[in-house]
Symmetry: C2
Subunit: 327 residues, 2 copies
């Protein structure tokens, strides 16, 4: 009988509290504690445990690299928040706002080192595979973040380019988390790869849902103002798809609204006007369809993993939770 998701999440939280973060100098380690205490859904380490569980491994062995992957994820948040100029994360000031940019750089670097240490806490027989996958993933996540920054000033981003970007920035990490679990279970490469693809498509769907929720969620449930991406001129899947389908006049309006600062001085009006264009093109429905396609591909890969179907319940539940989330 497998443990419940909730029970695994409690294990993860317990282990995170035990991380050695009281080192000296405090100026270096306190921001790391702050970042990790600040919560997060812990989806990525959960995926590592579930990947290991699914393929019949000893889940305890998967915990240290699962933590390492969560540490790496938090490192990317620390540095990305500097680059994106984000003032708030999970309702609290970001590290570079609370302390300084220098602190966020260096505490991020030491967090990366800690991630590497935990990733390496695996049996010798798995070390090489786990590391190769991790180093490839880190490289790809950096590439994805760079594309994201390039897109901020690039006018003609295609839907394909956008998908490549979110694949690198967002999707390869859950993919790697799942595959790491599979490696630790001693699964064959072909089974590992199925879990990788499952995670990759879940990641793509997750990001698309994020883009969709920003515009179409019930703002009271979503917990933040709808249209935040529109106000901050973020080129989401919805915007890029709309631009690709828009007529000349709509295209001019969208380009103006997202690229000419001050072209719309009333944010509520801007969100409404952009939403109207999206609606007239059916962008919301298209996004939903694309999301479902990604989910369906993801589940296709999970279906063909060569283990009894009963063992797949936890991963199915996790994927369903991600799909049903309101924020």
């Amino acid at each position: 009988m497998n443990k419940t998701l909730q029970s695994y999440l409690e294990d993860i939280s317990g282990e995170i509290r035990k991380l050695p973060l009281d080192g000296e100098p405090g100026e270096l380690y306190k921001p790391v504690s702050y970042c990790l205490e600040n919560g997060g859904k812990r989806i990525r380490p959960l995926m590592t445990l579930l990947g290991c569980e699914l393929l019949g491994g000893d889940v305890k062995r998967a915990m240290p690299p699962a933590l390492g992957l969560e540490l790496f994820h938090n490192f990317t948040l620390m540095h990305d928040d500097i680059m994106d100029g984000a003032p708030v994360r999970r309702g609290k000031p970001t590290i570079h706002k609370k302390w300084s940019i220098n602190t966020a750089i260096l505490s991020g670097d030491v967090l990366f080192a800690l991630a590497c240490r935990y990733i390496s806490k695996v049996p010798d027989s798995a070390l090489r595979s786990v590391l190769d996958l991790f180093h490839q993933t880190v490289t790809e996540v950096c590439e994805g973040q760079q594309y994201d920054m390039v897109f901020e000033t690039k006018k003609d981003v295609s839907v394909d380019e956008y998908v490549r970007m979110i694949r690198l920035k967002t999707a390869v990490l859950p993919a790697a988390c799942l595959k790491t679990g599979a490696i630790l279970a001693g699964a064959r490469e072909v089974e590992q790869q199925k879990l990788y693809r499952f995670g990759e498509y879940i990641g793509l769907a997750f990001q698309l849902r994020d883009d969709w929720l920003d515009v179409y969620s019930d703002s009271t449930e979503f917990g933040k103002q709808t249209g935040g991406d529109i106000i901050s001129n973020k080129k989401t899947w919805l915007y890029i798809q709309a631009l690709a389908m828009a007529g000349a006049k709509q295209k001019e309006f969208l380009l103006d609204a997202f690229n000419r600062p001050g072209s719309v001085d009333d944010n509520t009006g801007k969100v409404e006007a952009v939403k109207k264009v999206y609606d007239s093109l059916g962008i919301g429905e298209l996004a939903q369809e694309q999301m479902k396609e990604y989910y369906s591909k993801a589940f296709g890969y999970l279906d063909i993993v060569c283990v009894p179907d009963s063992g797949k319940e936890n991963l199915r539940e996790l994927a369903k939770n991600l799909f049903d989330r309101k924020k």
Copy 2:
């Protein structure tokens, strides 16, 4: 017959030119190429090769982790230059000046990932030891950089605290480079540790000489203005030692000169006045003595490495070059 230092350095340069740095997006990888093409003395990878050579290992096997350690060193330069606000490195604009802070953060991160990849290119039998040492070293280097930043605004730094800082920031990396070579040679732990200590004391002496050269070098040979550390209020070994020995009046002058912006408005005058205090306390000679003590400890460890003395020539020559350097 061992190769010459020059021949090893040529091997290293050749391998650095072959690194895969033409990836996409170019915005991410071009700054990495720029940083690595910009030279540097390549002392650290040379130490790895020489550590391996000394203990009878196959030097070719030590090349990938040697490159990894050089990549890591360059990563620290990229991020440190942001934190220190340094505009120039090796006579050319720093990454964050030529591009942007965001570029220097992210290209640094991907360079760190590349470093990890090369560090891991070692035989399975050595992988665990090499990684453990590397992760510990990365952590310590971050701690050292943090202490350095803390010291900028801390008035009462003791000589011991300063030495701990430079040990972490500067000395543990050459120590780890040498030990990595020893690990790859399959040397016993006790021999590895002798090389680690050798590198650590060489590193301490190196930093002290750096501090000394800033004040006492012949400025035409040194290639940069003497007294740069004094002008920028950098708390070097000389300053901290002088403060510890100074009388009340000298102490007040030094504290004022280094901590109160604008207390001296003429830089040439400031350098002369501080130098006068150093001279009256004999700080230059004290620094030289301390440096010699570190060198002597370093050579003491090299002397007791259990291999024929004739094999130690390359490491002795390298250490001598570092000691004789004028800049």
